[in-house]
Homo-oligomer: 247 residues x 2
Amino acid sequence: MTIPEKSCLVQKLSHYVDLTELSRKQLMSLEETEREFGKHAEVYRSGDRNDRLYVVKRGWLYSYTDLPDGRRQIVKIHHPGDIIGFPDIAFDTATTTLQTSEQACLCPFSKSALELIFQRSPQLTALMFSLAVRDQAIMIDALRAMGRMSAREKLAHLLLDLISRLRISNKNLTDTLRLPLNQFEIGDAVGLTNVYVSKTLIVLEREGFIRRRGDEIQLLKEQALAQLVDFSDRHHAMDTSWFPNAS
Amino acid sequence: MTIPEKSCLVQKLSHYVDLTELSRKQLMSLEETEREFGKHAEVYRSGDRNDRLYVVKRGWLYSYTDLPDGRRQIVKIHHPGDIIGFPDIAFDTATTTLQTSEQACLCPFSKSALELIFQRSPQLTALMFSLAVRDQAIMIDALRAMGRMSAREKLAHLLLDLISRLRISNKNLTDTLRLPLNQFEIGDAVGLTNVYVSKTLIVLEREGFIRRRGDEIQLLKEQALAQLVDFSDRHHAMDTSWFPNAS
DNA sequence: CGCATAATTGATGGTTATCAAGACCAGTGG
DNA sequence: CCACTGGTCTTGATAACCATCAATTATGCG
């Protein structure tokens, strides 16, 4: 059989377990369809019927909710290899709005594709389950940041979270990340205004924690930053010991 | 066979789907062991090895994380019938600390009990999955509240969330809920100080939104409150249409 | 009644929002 | 080559909101 182009989903999940041939095929089947989106395009909107999930093939996106008066909260930033839509799976309409932050390519697949996975592959089921709930742990960290951290700490936390996520699928990432978000978007992600994001990033830069060039950010003292916010990497290690054996 | 005492887990899940006899038995088996805890007892601590989950049989508990300097964030309040521990399932150590807010009774069960469920009951798997990810949707709402709401709105949101959750397992709940949390704990749940919680609750009371008597809170204008924070009930409706048929 | 815990009150200050203006930059068309 | 444009970032002044601290009052319990 022909091997299709490398799937970032398979690549990312392989980081955690040795996928069986069956699992691999099932994952590939999720990426059969492709759709292309321009910058700041809306993929779906809160309240839309949602019978689909999405695999990110290329580009950054984010999910947000807003209040009637326009205040906005970005609740999750999505990267290539991510599966989008787990939090909405329990509802018949979407709870968030999904938007691209730059040109992006998505692979939609239907909820019922999960049904197949649940019936046939306990290994993949456990892995999906773990991924879904790990996102929850990450959201817990975000909640802690939003509730109890200063602006400076919030931004430090965001940067650490992003770089540790990007390292999963891009092993040779060093200390620099591309951040294709403007300061309104950064503010909406951490609960600050664009103005204060600007001021705080300048502070972090003056303190020697980061350096900025265009849309790239270099973390100069990652250890110190991690200590500052008591950061723990939820992405690298995952407990797969309880997984069913490939059957 | 003998029918054991009513399980609040079975009761709660029955709200969403007709459980097969197999599913029911598997759920019951999760509640075989019981452990009793006093007020403000610690069940497990962040960093502990975690090979277990818990079903809440009685009493309120909460999970929190803290920063090195003592700031604390309560990330989830647990009620009878809840399953505690999904967010930690992907890790080998607990990411949060679990504490009772009053006398409570828990039923611990091992992670590998889930393995059995994954292998034997696609229906229950889908339901567990839905429960786990619905918690995520609820946390998204909390994140929005923490990031973009005023103190008054945050507290309104908390009360609405709590009462709509309690209504699932207690159908004849009216407009009054018992809130066994002190104002430090309330503050840690919404990202405020105990002092400002006090002041803000007084404002809500003066505005006629709530009435307080002891540890009970009555929501006098629930509609208005819901509109104030653009609240949507994540607890009542759940999309089960995509679930595998009981096999 | 006396003690501990929890809630309230008031004074003050810090952090962040808000508003408005200006600087920078890349792309566009004259 | 240069003005023009829209988007983004920066800067400064002011104000709102909430934290902090400390003292007092209420509540519950042995």
